[in-house]
């Protein structure tokens, strides 16, 4: 037991988890915004927008997240010199948020499109019939109903994002999976305890998200 508690004093376990929560928080907000824009593009009547939206989704959804994060750090920063923060370490944090956002926006877009499919066609036709243009009918009629129908799949995307935030280790961000490696390197005698800490930590973070989205999706579902 002393060994177990010494792991917490020897390594900044809580700090590492906090970094993952921050990565998840910012990437979730940005991905929701970008993903909504993409979803609107994909259902819009303009062919070039639809094409651009589906190209983005096809390209990004089929690229491994590690490749995207490594590209952000070694490509954007390493080769092109793009910095998102004047602080050296913070720069990697934001580059990783960028990578996570780009990747998960594609999944948010698809989750929202599944929500759009729950909206009866009659709703869109009625919106156009009373004189709303596409932008107004999307904003006032379709998207509000689509969001309510897409709560559960969006929750799944959020859960995936939470766990995928560990890929930021490849982008030089000091978070849990990097710390996991450090701890195994230094304390091989406590390997099972170390795995237990991280598994339990993620369960603690992810289970509430699942419960919240399940109850939200029930409460917000449109009765038809």
């Amino acid at each position: 037991m002393d060994d177990f508690t010494s792991l917490f004093s020897e390594f900044d376990v809580l700090g590492a988890f906090w970094t993952n929560i921050q990565l998840t928080f910012f990437a979730a907000i940005f991905a929701l915004v970008v993903g909504t824009v993409l979803a609107v593009m994909r259902i819009s009547p303009v062919p070039s927008l639809r094409w651009a939206g589906s190209t983005y989704v096809t390209l990004i959804r089929n690229t491994p997240l590690t490749v995207i994060i490594v590209f952000c750090v070694l490509g954007l920063w390493g080769q092109l010199g793009i910095t998102l923060s004047s602080d050296f370490q913070r720069n990697f944090f934001w580059l990783s948020v960028l990578g996570l956002t780009v990747y998960h926006a594609a999944f948010v877009c698809e989750a929202l499109r599944s929500g759009v499919n729950t909206v009866p066609v009659g709703q869109a036709e009625a919106a156009r019939a009373i004189g709303l243009d596409f932008a107004a009918s999307a904003r006032l009629i379709i998207l509000p109903q689509a969001f309510r129908g897409a709560v559960a799949p969006l929750g799944n995307v959020l859960i995936a994002l939470t766990k995928n935030s560990t890929v930021a280790a490849a982008g030089s961000v000091a978070e849990t999976s990097g710390l996991l490696r450090t701890m195994i390197e230094n304390r091989p005698d406590l390997i099972l305890a170390i795995f237990f800490i991280f598994a339990f930590g993620f369960v603690l973070i992810v289970v509430p998200i699942g419960l919240a989205t399940t109850s939200l999706s029930r409460r917000l579902a449109v009765a038809r």
């Binding site: 070694l74 390493g78 080769q79 050296f88 990697f92 030089s172 000091a174 390197e185 091989p188 005698d189």
Partner: protein, 289 residues
């Protein structure tokens, strides 16, 4: 009627699934089992010996097609030979840093030669023979860089190391608190960043850096500073209380005496002009406890 034809089919499906699962389990367990590898005997005979090495460290432990090269590999071959195993009885297995102790404990490998530093926490779960080499933490810099002569020159510079390694943290804690740290999954990414000019130095043990500097793609572009500031005793990892410890120690002593040790070093890492720390090398293997 349709029901009765459906039911047996479903049962057959379930049975098939169970069979597949059982087969998968058998396949898994035979994978890490001991098909003659761990029969303990030092006499060689019919069995093979499984040796854990790195596959991704040029000059030390490297898999090139189906060839294995490097200093660790040459020492491993020499020791295996002394234990009575011929070349074709050796099976090299990849042993990434994080899995080394587990692989020894589970019997997936019989011994490990993989830049394996002897430490007290590791000794609690496995045994070591050796050291067969004493490395020191050092820096790799661009070949025309004269501004970095040691870790204290790194304030305000960008330094690359591998995620989870202690070496970069040591520099930040003990030498230059103002160092900017880039952590990458592997050393090759670090060397890429170094040759691209994004980082000023790469840090880990000198012999690993020398191996990286010696590969053709990097030759003439990077150099090892040659000012080691730690002491890493590379040992042979063995299962806890292994009966092979004394035989391995004897083999290492023989290798040091007959010149094969120096030859292995020259063949693998000296191309870049690297000289091991002469105060500590060649090392004297410790007695087996």
């Amino acid at each position: 009627m349709t029901r009765s034809t459906h039911r047996p089919r479903r049962t057959a499906g379930v049975a098939a699934l169970g069979l597949v699962a059982a087969l998968a389990l058998v396949a898994c367990s035979s994978d890490d089992g001991d098909d003659g590898a761990t029969d303990g005997g030092t006499g060689g005979g019919g069995g093979t010996i499984r040796i854990g090495i790195k596959f991704d460290q040029p000059g030390l432990g490297f898999k090139d097609g189906d060839e294995y090269t490097g200093f660790d590999v040459d020492v491993a071959r020499y020791v295996a030979d002394k234990l009575g195993y011929s070349e074709d009885q050796i099976e090299f297995v990849e042993s990434p840093s994080a899995q080394r102790e587990t692989m020894l404990q589970n019997g997936q490998v019989d011994m490990i030669f993989a830049t394996y530093s002897i430490t007290d926490t590791r000794k609690e779960v496995i045994s070591f023979a050796g050291p067969y080499f004493v490395a020191g933490q050092d820096l790799l810099v661009a070949v025309d860089d004269t501004s970095i002569g040691g870790p204290e020159d790194l304030d305000g510079k960008n330094l690359c190391s591998v995620t989870g390694s202690t070496s970069a943290q040591r520099i930040k804690d003990e030498y230059a608190t103002g160092t900017n740290l880039l952590e990458q999954p592997g050393y090759s990414e670090c060397v890429t960043a170094l040759t691209a000019g994004t980082v000023d130095a790469v840090t880990t043990d000198d012999i690993i850096l020398a191996g990286l500097a010696a590969i053709p793609a990097n030759e003439g572009k990077v150099k090892v500073v040659g000012n080691p500031f730690s002491e890493e005793n590379y040992g042979v990892g063995l299962p806890k209380d292994s009966d092979k410890c004394q035989a391995v120690t004897d083999a290492i002593n023989a290798m040091l005496e007959d010149g094969s040790w120096q030859k292995a070093l020259d063949d693998n890492v000296s191309a870049s002009g690297y000289e091991p720390n002469a105060d500590l090398n060649p090392p004297t293997p410790a007695a087996c406890e």
